[in-house]
């Protein structure tokens, strides 16, 4: 019996069209980003990446303050966010392993953190977190240890430290969720072997589970870094928006993403706009490379693994 295959090819073509649409979208994005930044690339060349002046009047643009700001705030985010995410993941997979309801509850609560829109994080950071940190952490630190460059400069509350802190909270759901999967992928035999030679629970975690999961956890961290790098709104609201390169935690700063948010409206003149687009390109490449590395590390750890119950 011959079947009419018209319906089959119609569906396949229609669906393929949707897949092609995604490719076209990507090409358009890449195309616009590259073509519109050629003016700026040809004017400044590779030194754009370490140029520290961003001045619309003299039409000199350099990305260094913003790359520095992005790196600094993201590093702080990892510094504060990684231990907490790790703690949450260890709690859910190890400590609460025999109490699934508690584990699920904590897991759900942490996932809820991911559902909060970025601008609300910014709002809370601006009016609640930042004053608190300024009054109880920054000012005492500055008064006692202000001679150290890390704590120099009068704290105003809108600085690298606060941006790093709110970013840390924002990456907790991502990093802890992936770390949970990673830890669950560690074979039980590892734990059993440690228990068999008389290890305490923490020794099991520290000496056999975590080392086994090392590259996966590293991958989860890099994924969190990718999130932090692209984050715009919450950072813009508390980073201080000053074009400065300073090692001080209490210094105002600027990140690549918040530059885009703030300066798009001031952008007039072809070179300015082209420099803005080049910043977009830098930001995109940064996020892209970070994510590729992260995915590779995570994939390497979890391929072909039977997940622990």
């Amino acid at each position: 019996m011959r079947r009419r295959l018209g319906g089959d090819s119609f569906l396949r073509v229609t669906l393929a069209a949707a897949a092609v649409a995604i490719l076209i979208l990507m090409l358009a994005l890449a195309g616009v980003l590259i073509s519109k930044s050629t003016l700026s690339i040809s004017k400044f060349g590779i030194s754009f990446l370490w140029g520290s002046i961003w001045n619309a009047n003299t039409e000199i643009f350099g990305a260094l303050p913003f790359i520095f700001g992005t790196m600094y705030t993201s590093a702080l985010a990892l510094l504060f966010g990684l231990p907490i995410s790790l703690g949450v993941a260890i709690f859910i997979t190890e400590k609460a392993h025999n109490f699934p309801r508690i584990g699920n509850l904590i897991g759900t609560l942490v996932e809820l953190l991911a559902a909060v829109p970025s601008v609300i994080y910014g709002l809370w950071a601006l009016f609640v977190l930042s004053p608190f940190v300024k009054n109880y952490i920054e000012i005492p630190l500055h008064n006692s240890l202000g001679f150290i460059p890390l704590f120099a400069g009068t704290p105003f509350g809108l600085d690298f430290l606060n941006a790093g802190l709110i970013l840390a909270i924002m990456i907790i759901p991502t990093v802890s969720a992936i770390t949970r999967d990673i830890l669950n992928a560690v074979p039980n035999s590892q734990r059993e072997a440690m228990y068999a030679i008389g290890a305490t629970h923490w020794e099991v975690i520290w000496k056999s589970v975590l080392p086994y999961a090392r590259s996966g956890i590293f991958g989860a961290t890099i994924l969190g870094l990718g999130r932090a790098v692209g984050e715009t709104m919450a950072v813009t609201m508390v980073v201080g928006n000053q074009i400065k390169i300073s090692p001080s935690l209490f210094s105002g700063g600027y990140t690549l993403a918040s530059l885009l948010a703030n300066q798009v409206f001031e952008a007039s003149g072809k070179l300015f706009i082209s420099s803005i687009i080049e910043i977009c390109l830098v930001l995109f490449l940064l996020a892209f490379v970070i994510n590729v590395i992260a995915r590779f590390l995570i994939w390497r750890m979890t391929k072909g693994v039977h997940f622990r119950g």
Binding site: L15, L109, I205, L260
Partner: protein, 276 residues
């Protein structure tokens, strides 16, 4: 033994910090935002600077309009691509497009906003709700495509094989059997994408711009709730800050409603299990 106890305590501290942060954010939003909410707030326009009774009417309408438009644009492409990735995974187009989709998912939303700014806003010579909707749509597509693909991949292969064995055509198998079985996952993916779009601010800053009045068409600057929160939070007036909290509470309420619908959809389908 002591190290064991200390580390256990530290782990609990870490969990406590995460939970306290969540509770603090939600509680502060409710405490600061609730006093501001009333019927007037929900339907008034912000108006000129001197007017005291401000409202987020245009923002609510704007958010619904732009997210709705974005959904209309992104669901066909997202679902279509997702089904293609799942049902024809051997195709080279499928592999390339799926990889591209993952890259698209990782684009910072601000960069997507600037892309739409450079293309639509500058060529139309105006900020518009349409540009905002397009930006949101671009952000939604990868989410929908990925969740669609994953939901359909979970459908047991034996269902497809049984259907073909009975002589059902491929297209009917995909549409009537596979997609129908995976429809809860599909719906969840779309709802999650909608929730994400409703909360996005950065791309709207440079496409829809925001508006103190109801936009009369999608070719005008359009207001949105997250934009309102941002604009009023960074303003110099203390009373405007409380309006920002109020709008934030409305936004959280919308998020919560969407997440609740997602849980209901999932729950409904957990009971219908494939016996194979």
């Amino acid at each position: 033994m002591l190290v064991d106890k200390i580390m256990s305590a530290l782990i609990i501290v870490a969990v406590a910090i995460a939970v306290i942060a969540l509770v603090a954010i939600l509680a502060d939003t409710v405490i600061q935002g609730l006093p501001v909410i009333n019927v007037d707030f929900l339907k008034n326009i912000p108006g000129p600077v001197t007017v005291p009774d401000r409202g987020i009417g245009p923002d609510i309408v704007g958010t619904f309009t732009m997210v709705g438009l974005a959904t209309l644009m992104s669901v066909p492409i997202g679902v279509g691509a997702g089904v293609f990735f799942s049902e024809w995974p051997e195709s080279r187009l499928s592999f390339i497009s799926s990889f591209t989709n993952d890259v698209l998912a990782e684009f910072p939303s601000m960069v997507i906003g600037i892309f739409v700014w450079v293309t639509l806003v500058i060529s139309m010579k105006t900020f518009s709700g349409l540009a905002g909707a397009v930006a949101l749509g671009i952000i939604m597509i990868p989410i929908i495509a990925r969740t669609t693909e994953e939901s359909l991949k979970i459908v047991p292969r034996t269902l497809r094989e049984a259907s073909i064995a009975l002589g059902v055509s491929r297209w009917k198998t995909v549409v009537r059997i596979v997609m129908s079985t995976g429809k809860a996952g599909l719906a969840t993916g779309i709802l999650l994408a909608i929730a994400r779009a409703a909360g996005e601010t950065a791309p709207l800053l440079v496409t829809a711009l925001g508006n103190s009045f109801f936009a009369k068409s999608i070719f005008e600057p359009t207001a949105a709730i997250p934009l309102f929160v941002f604009d009023y939070a960074i303003s110099p007036y203390a009373i405007w800050h409380s309006y920002a909290w109020g709008a934030a509470l409305v936004l959280i309420a919308i998020m919560l409603a969407l997440n609740l619908v997602v849980r209901l959809v999932i729950k409904r389908n957990v009971t219908t299990r494939a016996e194979i």
